[in-house]
Symmetry: D2
């Protein structure tokens, strides 16, 4: 079989390098173009010496790049970039996976309010598919544009979906206390991201409101066909690099036995390769998924207050891994192609 | 002025060594006896080489110790030890600060249920004072026995007290998502406490119920004169050593302006040396209090859902520091004597 | 092709779980028996929830295990175990890879002095092959017993071999300042391995002498056909989990240009899949190899004092990964089968 | 006694904030001016919320600052700043402690070569005193300008001084393998200092040569009256924030007993409050000195190859603490004034 040619726009950040880490071992992929403004012309392995010598590509300046040979283009760019190239690329028959936020919210005024810019292609947003792989598989198959979900929203929606879908929780009183390793903030100049600041420290941030809150609410409503969802979301920074951990507090509409809870989650994810419900009263840990495309979920019932725990690696299932999972669905590859990494433990 | 003679039972754990770290520089204290079963006869500075050479004491076996010369005895022991010595010591006119849980809960059956043992001196529990320094100052002054609060309960009660005291929140819907550095678990043989396991990892624990939950509820009720309080408490382990961070979700009974919130907390803590309300919409970080007896609190109002953030160093304000603060109050020393450490930053 | 049946004795430690992590994806391997005294009868995935559900094996008690179906047995046990089973297993035609030290040193009195026990099968030690894969490939092919090298010795010998082999350094004045992540110490009850102790700390250990020093000297002599080698070895503990970093100081017999140095290392490792000489004056980092079977080497020439830097993941190339590489060589599989993990970065 | 008025130029970096942390509790000091270009006009406690509310100072722009009221000025600036202000300040009778490198090397061409700039006041360099407190006490007393030593040089020179002073080691074959926490690199925009890069990683740097090498050689020669010293120095980055650890390899001129070694170091440091020789064959750890002005030293004799271990906190004894120790000596205060912090442990 001919290999699929894929390109990456924005290859020098953490989602870019994670795409490269995973694509290198993908059996059906050939890496075509990888852009980088700052590392233009350099060997990828010079900039990322952890990658194997067999990668021969050089970074290309985004102004000089051509995607003629590419079947699919990943955007591992900041928000507001992919939307400027989408129309041109789609018109040429290319398919597109945006790992940033440009296509994640259908409500354009809401998006513009949270992201502080005018959207460049509102029409295309309508056609884009929200790439939460397990819950949107059929639409992903034929999508031209995939809006790859945010890291927090992935862990959180996978945890809440089975409950909201069954209409067994109060959809107005959801509280999400979420925690992330620091790679979720990207590779940028910000004193708070310095080792000397972030090591041996823990704190909340964006408590007044975070862009992932409207993304979670809008997509969960759509996926679970719920009229209104209100989810209070507070993120925190963990002094480590990879990992999302969501502790979610919801009110059960009626009491449920362990077996009932188990069955609700099992039905939802028993066919899933990557999402694993550990059982009621089990403790997921970020280390159980580190470096892998796995999601681990469990729940605890305390007097009709249900506590759901969900963990993923933000750079894999929360970004590059899910993007490749979506690609696999789009091109009819095995869903785990290139994604069979076992978590690194200890 | 003659120095106060204090002894420490259980000097080789983390609260014991932290008491030593702080007492060494206390202007009015002389360290009398320090017990250790395993390090009997050894120089304290051999076991804790971070302590200064001027400490000449040797560890004494608990079976051979005499407290004749001691004015006050700290118990930095596991739960269930102090209660066996309390009557004897009190009868000899000694005063006592228990850093474990033996005297923290007045409701004896409740205590026995959570701690899985029979209480040895229920009568003395009645007379013991819960040593949350800022909120029980008058009772602490004359106490014979101080029940030094748990680390989580200290951070959490200081955060909730002003609101509950003013009756402005729903006392039935409190959700506490708390996080702790690993020293809170003590120095013991448990695979989960190994560096190889705990580093680069994050997880919840005791989600089905933690002993600090009844402690928080009982004492907050008493301190704020509230009939009933229900606080759902979920602790997590942060991959670092020191620090408690509590993110608390409560429902406001009516909407409050920033000024009103500011004024509620300011009234409560403006006279406090150690508890500092940072203001509405400010972000406390564990590093702002590391190694110090400080507590930093802030809050965010999101549509009548109030999010309160509170942080302390679990070994200082959450254990040894608050114990010394209580001693200072009991003996009429300056409240900050021995406690003027500035947090270690970065 | 029929799959090779392999068993693991001592499956619950870090080298055991790492063997499992890597073998799960090995295309030619079926895991037969995995022993554990403490977890006898439990599902492997219950004890190691990071492993995928497809592993159906249960732990077997070492007293009840049978290796009838096994072609090869890994010993991921403490020192002094494998030597008691070797004769019996070899006599039944089994092949054996010992990840502990029982077969690493040919000089039995020297071994007995360092390891403080009598050797159970000195005769078999003679026939065992020291499994430094790149440097002993031919002997490994036919070996019945592989002495899998220690983690430090692997990083250090790969770094020194090309120089000693070419007789261009003084073999009497080698100084090795080595550093290791804490997983190298194994999973055991030792206060020094607790997170609260080891986090945010750095120190040397075993400065008076470490068992890896005679291993390095003896095997380097044999491999490079050098009469005498003296290598002063001082290990340190890095506050992280995985990674060996060796900084080696040697005296060049004559000055060498960058090109000459480059050529010496290139000749040695250009055919190697896993050992990669980065070039003169390049900086390897432990993160470049984390989770992978890679070794990264570089050197700096400062006035005939050559500084060599070498890094591996102690659990992969320093233990389980090299063991599987040896298995691949023994059974004529592709050398990288099951070992094509890209390092986890960041 | 009237308080001494001190100012800080460059108050927003790590040495600046560490000076503030320590000076706040100094009994004889009043903080006068603290400059910051970027935080001009802001409250110091807004920028450094870990500092106590009692600090009322605001940052002042360096262009607007006046030191009329200051007795002593600390320069916690990048290299090349203090030298431009030294003449003016000295001429006004001010005393000066430069925590950067401007006055550390007397050999001006050597300095200019390593620091890549022209020196602004070579004459003043001659009169400046190298502030290695324990070894230059008499000269420090009357100094107008103190060149506060670098962090590595402090740990290393304190370790080597007693041996070089007694002429018992080969001064030409010194090898220094040194390791530092990341705060030693300062607070600046550099990808290598990001948490996502530096956490869970270890590597050497500046292997081709580091500015601290000539500083060590020149000052050790002067202090120990040695004609020539050659010290090969290789620094490494530890994944933590604070702490220097030097492992030093030297050749003894003749064999020495433990008692002789002990006596050599004891003679050197028995009167010292901060430098503590732990004894032969003891293991210092960075955590034994963290947050304090302490230095811990030990040594191991292996066949006339002596291994010396030395550890300090780079921000305290390696920077701000030693600067204050020097101030205490200059103004005849108790040497430990403001410096009696016990190391933070665990």
């Amino acid at each position: 079989m001919d290999k699929l040619h894929v390109s990456i726009v924005g290859g020098s950040g953490y989602t870019g390098s994670e795409l490269l880490r995973l694509l290198v071992n993908h059996p059906h992929i050939e890496i075509d173009q990888v852009t980088s403004r700052q590392d233009d012309g350099k060997n990828i392995t010079e900039i990322f010496p952890f990658l194997p010598k067999k990668i021969k590509n050089k970074f290309v300046h985004p102004d000089n790049v051509s995607f003629e040979q590419s079947d699919l283009i990943f955007f591992a760019t900041p928000n507001g970039i992919a939307m400027n190239f989408a129309e041109m690329l789609v018109s040429k028959g290319k398919r597109l996976i945006d790992l940033a936020a440009d296509f994640r919210i259908k409500n354009i005024p809401l998006w513009e309010q949270w992201y502080g810019m005018k959207h460049a292609c509102p029409k295309l947003v309508e056609t884009a598919v929200y790439g939460l792989s397990e819950l949107k598989k059929n639409e992903i198959k034929d999508a031209k544009i995939i809006a790859n979900p945010g890291c927090y929203p992935t862990a959180i929606q996978l945890a809440l979906y089975p409950l909201l879908n069954k209409k067994i929780i109060n959809e107005q009183t959801i509280i999400i206390d979420a925690k992330s390793g620091i790679s979720g903030a990207g590779k940028k100049n910000d004193d708070n991201l310095l080792m000397a600041e972030a090591y041996d420290n823990f704190n909340a941030y964006s408590v007044q409101g975070h862009r992932h809150e409207p993304e979670i609410e809008e997509n969960l409503k759509e996926i679970t066909n719920t009229k209104d969802i209100k989810a209070l979301f507070v993120p925190h920074l963990i002094p480590m690099v990879r990992g999302i951990y969501a502790t979610i507090y919801v009110d059960l509409n009626k009491d449920l036995s362990e077996d009932e809870l188990d069955s609700i989650y099992s039905q939802a994810y028993d066919q899933s390769i990557f999402v694993h419900f550990m059982g009621v009263n089990k403790i997921p840990k970020t280390k159980m998924v580190r470096g892998s495309n796995q999601c681990r979920i469990s729940c605890f019932n305390r007097d009709k207050k249900l506590i759901i725990l969900s963990t993923i690696d933000n750079l894999v299932k929360g970004a590059a891994g899910q993007a490749i999972q979506n690609l696999n669905i789009m091109f009819n590859f095995q869903e785990e192609a290139g994604l069979n990494y076992i978590p690194l433990n200890p």
